[in-house]
């Protein structure tokens, strides 16, 4: 793309400028992505530098500390007991004891089998005829993950114990007293309030989100599918076989080996529709929602409350009712077709006639369901804009259009920006509308696709079907990771362009 001078740019009309910006964004995309990858080593370098500095700190503490500090690497909290911090010391020591017990009785046995995921399958004993329960690959993998996370946390705690002891030693030599339990608790409500706040959410996040995700990421590298279901059978590591099957069609490890190539065809097909859907749904909702919100909030419009109530109805009624109801209305003999016949038109098979019509109807229904959310959010934002901004603008002689483009719109985008990418991700993963409205299929079978997927399935509904109906956990995990890659790709682009992430301190 030709680079133009700023004079040329300024002499363009508004529309041309917008078009130029739009084009240059896409023209610069490869360069930007390249730059991002070139910066990757630097990023990792900084990360490792931080970790290294952390180790160095602990090493220094160990080297320059007295015997009390050094002993607290072995008996945790010793450095606290020695300086009469009984409460803190008990916490450290208690954690150490629990950790040792955990490793001896629980963690070690699973960690040892992580390499093979178990070797003894459940089988019948040839001499006695009893069933012998073998190893369970699932629990081996899961509890190994859990143990590894506990191990990492323990290393952090160990280092903290040493550093605590060292800072006690230093502090004591200066002030002749170490911080008491009361000081600590007071700090937890003041300068360390974030620790108090984030402790419980982080715990649930770790156990019920991070561990399952790590587990499923690892499952993508195993053959955990309907042929290898624990506890009856074992599954094992297969490397990148699943990825090559889904992306390139080499279906050697999968249960449906005879239709090699179908997996990848299905994936690329569904990916295309998922992206199309997410862009359409996000853009239509944002723009229509914003326009309606501005219309309702226009100063001279009366009955604001009434208009809002009409829209809020849709927000308040649970989505599953809306979707199931609309599905009934769109049936061949549903109310909409009946009305069409009454005014003399042909009835339409909205959701079953063809794939493209079903897709269009889904987008329209999504506008119906989604716009009120945008309207409500925008209304909230519009009401929150400090009025002195407008007052100042008015004094400076700005007209309403100028005020809109310089105050209202930036302010809205500042708050909506992060939630916009959320909406986009939410739409990529919009299970409800597809599943409840169509079940993932419009009934028009695409013979080239895997039988488990329908023609209007999104990646997430396909993942759901593979998990719930077909026990194809390995492919489902691969899909999950690919969804992540897609989402991450778009988020990175958007986040590097939205000001609200960079300029957090604006609008203060």
């Amino acid at each position: 793309m030709r680079k133009i001078s700023s004079l040329e740019y300024l002499s363009m009309s508004k529309a041309t400028r917008a078009w130029y910006k739009f084009c240059s964004f896409f023209a610069n995309l490869p360069v930007a992505i390249g730059r991002w990858f070139r910066n990757l080593p630097k990023l990792f370098g900084r990360l490792f530098g931080k970790i290294g500095a952390w180790f160095e700190n602990v090493f220094d503490a160990f080297r320059f500390g007295n015997w009390k500090t050094r002993l607290s690497a072995l008996i945790w909290g010793f450095g606290c007991f020695a300086y009469r911090q009984i409460g803190r010391g008990i916490l450290y020591l208690g954690y150490e004891i629990i950790f040792v017990l955990f490793m001896v009785f629980f963690g070690a046995q699973y960690l040892g089998k992580l390499g093979t995921l178990g070797t003894v399958e459940t089988h019948e004993d040839p001499t006695t005829g009893f069933m012998i329960v073998g190893e369970n690959s699932f629990s081996i993998l899961l509890y190994s993950m859990l143990t590894i996370i506990v191990l990492i946390f323990t290393v952090v705690m160990l280092f903290k114990s040493i550093k605590d002891a060292y800072s006690n030693q230093l502090g004591y030599s200066i002030a002749q007293r170490a911080a008491t339990m009361k000081d600590d608790v007071g700090q937890l409500l003041n300068h360390k309030f974030h620790l108090t706040i984030l402790a419980f959410p982080s715990l649930t996040l770790a156990v019920f989100t991070i561990v399952p995700l790590l587990f499923m990421i690892l499952v993508a590298f195993t053959n955990y599918n309907s042929l290898h279901l624990p506890p009856r059978r074992l599954f094992s590591w297969v490397g990148f076989d699943n990825f090559s099957a889904v992306l390139a069609g080499n279906a050697k490890g999968l249960s449906g080996a005879q239709d090699a190539g179908r997996w990848s065809y299905t994936f690329w097909h569904i990916l295309g529709w998922t992206l199309e859907w997410a862009v359409l749904a996000t853009v239509t909702n944002l723009f229509i929602g914003m326009i309606v919100a501005l219309l309702i909030n226009k100063k001279s419009i009366k009955l604001k409350k009434f208009w809002r109530v009409c829209l809020v109805t849709v927000v308040a009624v649970p989505q599953f009712i809306s979707f199931l109801l609309v599905k009934q209305m769109l049936l061949d003999n549903g109310i909409i077709n009946t009305m069409l016949v009454k005014i003399g038109l042909e009835p339409v098979q909205w959701l079953t006639k063809s794939t493209s019509l079903a897709r269009l109807v889904i987008v329209l229904v999504n506008i119906w369901v989604g716009v009120p959310f945008t309207v409500l959010t925008c209304t909230g934002i519009l009401m929150n804009i400090p009025e002195d901004l407008y007052e100042a603008a008015k004094i400076d002689g700005a007209n309403p259009i100028k005020m809109f483009s310089k105050i209202t719109l930036p302010y809205m985008m500042f708050i909506l920006g992060p939630s916009l990418i959320n909406t986009f991700v939410g739409n990529i993963n919009n299970f409800n509308i597809i599943f409840l409205l169509t079940g993932g299929s419009s009934g028009n079978v695409n013979s080239q696709m895997q039988a488990t997927a329908g023609d209007v399935d999104l990646l997430i509904t396909w993942l759901y079907k593979l998990t719930v109906n077909d026990s194809q956990y390995d492919v489902a995990s691969v899909l999950g990771i690919l969804i992540f890659i897609v989402v991450a790709f778009f988020s990175l682009i958007v986040y590097s362009r939205i000001g609200s992430v960079k300029n957090e301190e604006d609008f203060q």
Partner: protein
Amino acid sequence: MKTLLLLSLSKGATIAISIVLGVIILIAIAAIVYFVLKRRGVVRCRVKMATAHTLRTKPIIHSNRKSPKNALVDTGIYILLAIISIIWVFPFVYLIFSSLRGESHGIVEYMIPKQFTLDNYVWLFSGTSSQYPFLRWYLNTLLVSLVVSVINTMITLLTAYALSRMRFNGRKSLMKFMLILGMFPGFLGMICIYYLLGPDALGLIGNGAPFPIAGLMLVYISGTMMGYYVSKGFFDTISRSLDEAAMIDGASRAKIFFSIILPLSKPIIIQTLLGAFTGPWGDYMMANYILRGDVNSKTVAIGMNSMIDTFQNRQENFTRFCAGGVVVSILPLVMFFFMQRYYVAGVTGGSVKG
């Protein structure tokens, strides 16, 4: 919990308890209405006093000058808004009419019923059908949603506060980490979560577990922390000079949050609360996977889907489904209408000037 178990005892007991519960709920709603109205009076007075010096009554944009061009534009907007409203409300009118239809239970070719009746509602709450114990589903859902909404709102607001106001080591990394974590589809880890909650680990759900909806609650609570964005955006717009002033006066971080930030954040509290309530209230995907099997521990979303999932069921249950839809929608509707004004209450506009 005990009352929930009682409900499976007998038909008579079920009806008695439903009547009692109904009365309690009615009284509660009446009380809420009373207090809200009372509060409103008080709040209105305050707002009037406040507007005297914050100039809130002054219009933001002077577009309401009386000129024929503006009048024409406004008429166009009114027509547009009317059309939009009709499109948006129509399905619910259909829902209500169908739920009152007496002559057939299936899908019919007209909208306004020939015979009005409340039988569909009575059928739902009389507990006559062991296949569709609607009252149980409703109470299950209510319990899950209430608990989850309160806990999740607390978590979201506190996380947003910490990330918006406090500057600690690893804050940026934490935000990036949660951002990345949020990019994975939530359902991906479901098999693993099912195992963790199931009979082999925690024993909350699965075969013979006494209270499987507790497991569902945990699932809803677990990922909340990642949804801090909107609240953080809101806190970022509250001027930090308020915090600084309070800190100079010796207030701790906790005190600042509870006595300065929270009272200023009513809109975002309400918005978070409603979001956290309606999420579990209408969730299908997670609930369907976690609460497999036992018909009595379902939530309304899965239960009501099973009422009309096949052609046969649809012909038998469509009007009952509609009645259920109305019943399920009432609570969120009431909440939205009473709390709606918080959406439009400008908070930061007048609190710190210049």
